[in-house]
């Protein structure tokens, strides 16, 4: 008798049932769909939200195959692309800009599959089409901006202290101040230190008269500015990508100073780049309390010296014309919790601090507002010619009462912690923007994506079928076992990839094929070993046992080394290569599991019960 321990067989069977269940959503394929999200950031809840859209479509006799709410967005699935596009136009014209409508693909899986939270593998950009952008943040440029600001502030500081200077010049990494009179060196030093105390100052008297001060940023300051520049751009890009309403879009940091943006299904590159290239700034202004904002909103006229704004809630607010501080003077903003109360700490540069000090001294107890301004370059037709126009979108993101006199560091309180996070994010996004440029741009058309899927799947099917035939011919019944185990392997691999939410790319399909090609090796090692043992004249049952045992070390060592290659690929690769590495690595693990446990279980089931086998079908 040669039966595999029952618990191991049951474990294998259990894992395979689970894997079949997890892999199931991939069977249904996907269909064109629309994804609707509210532009004000509110989430859709419940089925009532779906009703309004199905009603709009029903009036024009357009029906969706399925409509449901997912992650606060309404998803509507259609039979084909023309229906999808017609539905988009209908909803767009009925809603007039309240919703972001994205064309996408949704799984055809029935409702219950979705209800239990099962999801198919998502498709990578090369398989579904879309735009891939890599932005590089000019971190050196960001540091230069700080030096330029320093240069400006030094001039102001020296002028205010009436210290005569020959020149204030910015060089690479330094600002050099040349004084006419060496006697005022100490005065100048304290004036410059007051501007920014973290800067390193080196003084030097010159033999021909006068003196020089060289200011350079400390390493910590340079690092801080660089990481701020990257964080700021990630925040800004994420905000704008979210506003596009593209499903499964992602913004990720890549390496030291790059940001990768993936927009599946999007085709208009220039439009997207324009939208993502928006710049933002901030204005701190005092709130005008003398006039009624609601009245101004109704009449459409803001009183003299004021300007009418809207808050995020939609409520109107009148602000004074004078700007206290702009985003250019903001150096950092962070949210934190002080004794359970969320707060946002704002840091300004020296000039901004001075302005703030003056304003707060005179306006204690009065409210101050922060306006977030997003500038977008739009092409407009003027007299038949296309002209680029900067369009500003302005919104008041915070109104807070001035509770004390402060200069370059202050806190905004009275927020929920979510509001605090959001406000800090917007403040950072509105600070002086570090320059970014696009270093990589890939656009894959949807027809190419479909082509890639078709060809990849075709190669996978042809290769697998040919392999199955070969194995069945060469190893007869045991070959069929190997084929069954191979199918189990692919099911398990698919289940794992679906579970991780990994995106399937073309190299990923190649990785699945390579896994299939290499997974048979484990079975071949075992079968060849069994044949050898049989040749040595050992009984069939003992041969099976010995075959599995003796092949184990070779299988393990061989797979661990390939796994090393897979993991290194994962760590070094980006984009599609990472996808290949994930499939290769996970594939090795599923191969080990199915080849060792699966083969043993099946062979045990079929041949294990027989008391004596005359000849092994291997």
């Amino acid at each position: 008798m040669n039966r595999y321990p029952l618990w191991k067989s049951l474990l294998f069977a259990g894992v395979m049932v689970l894997a079949l269940f997890l892999a199931l959503p991939n069977v249904f394929g996907s269909a064109p769909a629309l994804q609707l999200s509210r532009k004000d950031g509110e989430l859709f809840k419940g089925d009532g939200a779906v009703q309004q859209f199905t009603d709009v479509l029903a009036r024009e006799h357009v029906t969706a195959d399925a409509s449901f709410v997912e992650n606060g967005r309404v998803v509507m699935r259609f039979a084909d692309v023309p229906t999808q596009l017609k539905a988009r136009d209908l909803i767009e014209s009925s809603a007039q800009g309240t919703y972001a409508i994205a064309t996408t693909f949704a799984s055809r899986a029935p409702g219950w599959v979705r209800a239990v939270g099962l999801k198919p593998m998502s498709l990578g950009l090369d398989l579904r089409g879309g735009i891939y952008l890599v932005y590089e943040v000019d971190v050196d440029g960001a540091v230069k901006q700080v030096l330029a600001r320093l240069e400006r502030d030094y001039r102001t500081a020296l002028r205010e202290k009436k210290i005569q200077y020959e020149s204030v010049e910015g060089g690479p990494g330094v600002v050099t101040v040349t004084l006419k009179d060496a006697a005022r060196l100490e005065d100048a030093k304290s004036a410059l230190t007051a501007v920014d105390r973290d800067v390193t100052l080196v003084t030097e008297t010159r033999p021909e008269g006068g003196a020089q001060l060289r200011a350079s940023l400390s390493d910590a300051q340079v690092k801080e500015r660089q990481s701020f520049a990257i964080q700021q751009n990630i925040t800004a890009l994420s905000n704008r990508v979210n506003s596009l309403g593209v499903s499964e879009a992602s913004v990720q940091r890549q390496g030291a100073n790059r940001i990768a943006v993936q927009l599946p299904g999007v085709q208009d590159a220039s439009e997207v780049i324009r939208l993502l290239g928006k710049t933002a700034t901030l204005e701190f202004r005092l709130v005008d309390q003398a006039n009624n904002a609601l009245e101004a909103q109704q009449t459409g006229h803001a009183p003299l010296g004021t300007k009418l704004y809207k808050q995020r809630s939609g409520a109107p607010v009148l602000l004074k014309r004078e700007i206290i501080v702009t985003g250019e003077q903001l150096t950092n903003a962070s949210s934190s919790n002080q004794q359970g109360e969320p707060q946002v700490t704002v840091n300004l540069d020296a000039r901004g601090g001075d302005e703030m000090l003056r304003t707060t001294r005179e306006n204690l107890g009065k409210p101050m507002a922060v306006v977030f301004i997003e500038r977008e370059r739009q092409l407009r037709e003027v007299d038949g010619q296309k002209v680029a126009v900067d369009v500003n979108k302005e919104e008041v993101i915070s109104v807070a009462t001035i509770n004390g006199v402060f200069s370059n560091t202050f806190q905004i309180t009275g927020l929920t912690s979510h509001e605090g996070l959001e406000l800090a994010k917007l403040l950072r996004a509105g600070a002086l923007a570090a320059p970014v440029y696009i270093v990589e741009q890939r656009l894959i058309g949807p027809s190419l994506g479909q082509d890639n899927i078709d060809k990849g799947v075709r190669a996978l099917v042809i290769g697998s079928v040919a392999l199955f035939v070969f194995m069945a011919l060469y190893y007869s019944a045991f070959g069929l076992v190997a084929n069954l185990v191979l199918v189990c392997n692919v099911v398990l691999l698919t289940a794992c990839l679906s579970l991780f939410g990994a995106a399937l790319t073309l190299p990923g399909i190649a990785g699945i094929m390579l896994t299939v090609g290499m997974a048979v090796d484990a079975n071949i090692l075992i079968y060849e070993r069994i044949r050898e043992e049989v040749r040595h004249g050992i009984s069939p049952h003992a041969a099976i046992k010995a075959g599995f045992e003796k092949a184990l070390s070779a299988i393990a060592d061989a797979n661990v080394t390939t796994l090393i290659a897979g993991v290194v690929l994962f760590l070094f690769g980006t984009g599609p290569i990472k996808g290949f590495a994930v499939v290769l690595s996970v594939g090795i693990l599923t191969t080990l599991f199915t080849a060792l446990m699966g083969s043993r279980t099946v062979i045990g089931l079929v041949w294990g019960r027989r008391a004596a086998i005359k000849r092994l079908p291997v």
Partner: protein
């Protein structure tokens, strides 16, 4: 079915010195081909612009080149891609003066003058800096893979085996890259991934032979190391051949039916698998043998060190 009814008795190790020479020639030839022809590196590595377009009718490549010259692109490559209707246009990296989108629009317009039904299926614009970094990353990825594998083999076997395995492994990427230099096929990111997979696969093969050597040494106490290595290779030969056939079936399917995007990947694996078969049998075992691997290296008794048991 069975290809080998009994264990064959080929004397593999007898020809190992000839194989070293062959390997040296192949590696030098590969380097020469890379130096002479150069690798046809994809935009992934060089930076630049690639545009894939689909024409309504058969693409006229000369007319396309002409149209692009007129549009102001002198240094432009135009070739068919997969079918006679598909065209691949390649440009060197664009300067700061032109935005990527302006370039795409201009090229699309130029292609439309050749064939009104031309449709852009894919554009890739990669900055030169990105490409340079990728080359560096690719090389360090290969180096790290090889070092880690050397450590693993040295830990599981002995350092002599590790050296043999690594030399055999180094040999295989050279062959693959050499073939790409000779044929002028494009070397892109997916080919690089294939080369790394070949490295993993090469070790995989070597390990199977070494595993058998490790097993045979204690059994064949009276035999010379050379005989042990020969026997190990012969005993695993059947498995080596069958596995190669199985894997090649799949990889050839990928090469033939996977479309243009996977062709390079498929070719790299086909060449790689053939190179791996050769190197794991001749180079890896030969080097391990010539470094003086003997019974003593792999005797289990060596592992028993009683020091730890002392109180």
């Amino acid at each position: 079915m069975e290809f080998f009814h009994s264990v064959p008795k080929f004397r593999f190790m007898a020809v190992r010195r000839i194989c070293y020479i062959i390997s040296a020639v192949v590696i030098l030839g590969s380097l020469a081909a890379e130096g002479y022809h150069g690798l046809n590196l994809a935009v992934d590595f060089t930076g630049g612009v690639v545009i894939e377009a689909n024409y309504a009718g058969t693409a006229n490549l000369d007319a396309t080149r002409e149209a692009l010259h007129k549009a102001g692109y002198a240094d432009v490559q135009v070739q068919n891609f997969g079918s006679s209707k598909d065209v691949l246009v390649r440009l060197p990296p664009i300067g700061d003066k032109e935005s990527a989108n302006a370039v795409t629009a201009k090229i699309e317009a130029a292609l439309k003058t050749v064939d009104a039904g031309a449709q852009i299926r894919r554009t890739e614009i990669v900055g030169p800096q990105v490409g340079k970094e990728l080359v560096g990353k690719g090389i360090s990825a290969m180096a790290i893979t090889i070092v880690l594998i050397l450590l693993y083999i040295a830990f599981r076997f002995r350092w002599k085996f590790g050296v043999g395995a690594v030399l055999a492994t180094l040999h295989d990427p050279f062959v693959v890259v050499g073939v790409f230099a000779l044929t002028g096929m494009q070397f892109d990111l997916s080919v690089l991934a294939a080369v790394l997979a070949v490295i993993g696969y090469s070790i995989n093969e070597t390990v199977v032979v070494f595993d058998r050597v490790r097993e045979l040494f204690p059994v064949m106490r009276t035999s010379t190391p050379l005989e042990v290595f020969d026997r190990a290779i012969n005993e695993t030969l059947s498995r080596t051949v069958i596995t190669k056939v199985a894997t090649l079936i799949v990889v050839v399917a990928l090469y033939l039916f996977g479309g243009e995007a996977l062709r390079g990947f498929g070719l790299a694996l086909i060449v790689g698998i053939l190179a791996v078969t050769y190197s794991s049998m001749f180079v890896a075992s030969g080097v391990a043998l010539d470094l003086g691997s003997s019974h003593r290296d792999l005797m289990p008794s060596q592992r028993a060190t009683p020091v730890d048991d002392l109180p």
